[in-house]
Amino acid sequence: MTDSAMDVRDLFVGNGDLQAVRGVSFSIPVGGRMGLVGESGSGKTLTALAMMGLLPVGWSTEGRILHDGVDLSCQSDSQLSRRRGRTISMVFQDPLTALDPVRRVGHQIISLIRRHSDAGKAEATEQAKALFRQMNLPRPAQMLRAYPHQLSGGQRQRIMIAIALACYPQLIIADEPTTALDTTVQKQVLRTLDVAVRERGTALLMITHNLPIIAAICDTVAVMYAGRIVEAGPVAEVFSKPRHPYTMGLLRSQPTMDNIALDGSSRLPSIRGTVPPLQDLAIGCAFQPRCEFATDKCRLETPKVIEGLSCWHPIVLDAEE
């Protein structure tokens, strides 16, 4: 298992009777980049929090989370806190709330570098400046003295990425890192993240509902629906030849220049219905109430995962399409 940066097996995350993640398995090779896609409430973020042992009070996990040769799901809190940040780190969705507003950003990154290495203050400051330079942040020395509210959203997110990279982790989890940024900044931030991760050979788990980002950055993709992975595979394959009706629906509901009519006469295709609440998940396939191909079999039996696909009626697309 040493060739994977993260290996999740049959992960269940629940709070009492509520099961939000129901049997998720995936594996990210060392230096690999995986995308995790799904609607709000499909269990993406809980999966990520479970991987870091940071679930909110009341939530518990079952299954195995293998990382760096140990099962994180059965580590004590103090054991976890020693490895957190050193081997796994995370980039949060909202860069404004992810930095402490009353402390200078330099202090936040330098104290982290010093905590996880035996670098002195001057050395840690140099490392922080080098990281900032790599993040294309202008005037790193001044930037270190700034408070978060003095910086723009893009700058803050770059600093978060710099902090995430500071201890040379094996895996970075990016939870919708660009959702809170505007489109032009998104691209720059993603490119910086992409380059930095590639240079260091760090594995990346990109959680998003933005399919173009996945297509641009990731090697593999897993599509989550109602706590399960319904389809997984290499990005090129899944996006060009989706087999699960849900993946198909997601891909169809992406706006492109073709289906946007400026006079407003055309509508963006959407998947009818919404994600069912966790309390009343039907037996059988969770997507079945919204699926146009659903049959009686889908209503009665939960589809097994075969070749990364969990569907009784996979769509077969012609190769040339």
């Binding site: 020693r82 940040g85 949060f92 992810a98 982290l112």
Partner: protein, 273 residues
């Protein structure tokens, strides 16, 4: 930063009061407890006693100066101890599990439901009156309020992503409370401190007026008020001086608190830049 008039006026008034209290520790025009019967009940404006003398001929300015010291020591003492205890209890309540949180919160509720004056009267009756007893009573009275404020502010800070980030990077619980949560709620607590400083001065004056606070040879503005009470009609300004002093200092502290609230409000400070 924009000019905040109430902060400036409040800070000036508070600074003056504190300066007078400091001066009173090493220099006084007269001994405030020494009777001088020939000079009794001098009117304000006399050459040797600018604000006159009381019924025993004791100098009013000297008494007011010592009174300022008493007010500030008792008010600041009570508010500071309450601030420290309240912040610690509030942080513990916010960061702990349900049982600890509920216990601390319910105890605070019970303590808040007991009127402060009653607590002070009971304490004065059992421990004897004096400045220390008054500080003790104020602490018992104010700590629950500080606990509540600190707890609710800490709860909202604990929701933020940077707390999760700190946990993720391996920070311990105490480090997070001391270095991330406390600095973020300090502004709210400072504002609360100035307001309770003022409330402490008022309470101290009330207790001394009732005779359960500071007594001679100690001097407090409340004590001066109660002594001046018998001379109302004979020499009415005697009651006016300590009353005016209380108004000025309490007004100063409240103005400063309001000003600080505006300046330290995180929402406002974010929009400045």
């Amino acid at each position: 930063m924009r000019l905040n008039v109430s902060l400036i006026i409040g800070a000036i008034l508070t600074f003056c009061a504190i300066s007078i209290a400091v001066v009173s520790t090493f220099w006084l025009p007269y001994n405030p407890n020494l009777p001088n019967i020939p000079n009794r009940l001098l009117a304000a404006g006399s050459a040797e006693h600018w604000l006159g003398t009381d019924v025993l001929g004791r100098d009013i300015i000297s008494q007011l100066m010592v009174g300022a010291r008493t007010s500030i020591v008792v008010g600041a003492g009570g508010a500071t101890i309450s601030l420290v205890l309240g912040a610690i209890m509030g942080l513990i309540a916010a960061a702990s599990g349900k049982i600890v949180d509920e216990t601390i919160s319910r105890v605070a509720d019970i303590m808040l439901s007991i009127p402060g004056m009653v607590t002070a009267l009971v304490l004065a009756a059992t421990l004897g009156s004096g400045a220390l007893t008054t500080i003790f009573a104020l602490t018992a009275f104010f700590t629950p309020s500080f606990t509540r404020v600190a707890r609710s502010a800490a709860l909202s800070v604990l929701q933020e992503d940077f707390i999760t980030a700190a946990q993720l990077y391996g920070r311990g619980r105490i480090f997070i409370l001391a270095r991330h949560v406390f600095p973020n709620i300090a502004g709210v607590l400072i504002v609360q401190f100035t307001l309770y400083f003022a409330a402490g001065i008022l309470t101290e004056a009330g207790l001394s007026y009732l005779g359960v606070g500071v007594t001679r040879p100690g001097i407090s503005w409340g004590l001066m008020l109660s002594e001046a009470q018998n001379q109302v009609g004979v020499s009415s300004p005697l009651a006016m001086w300590p009353g005016l002093s209380i108004v000025i200092v309490v007004l100063g502290l409240n103005l400063m608190g309001d000003g600080l609230r505006d300046v330290l409000d995180p929402k406002l400070s974010k929009s400045i830049l």
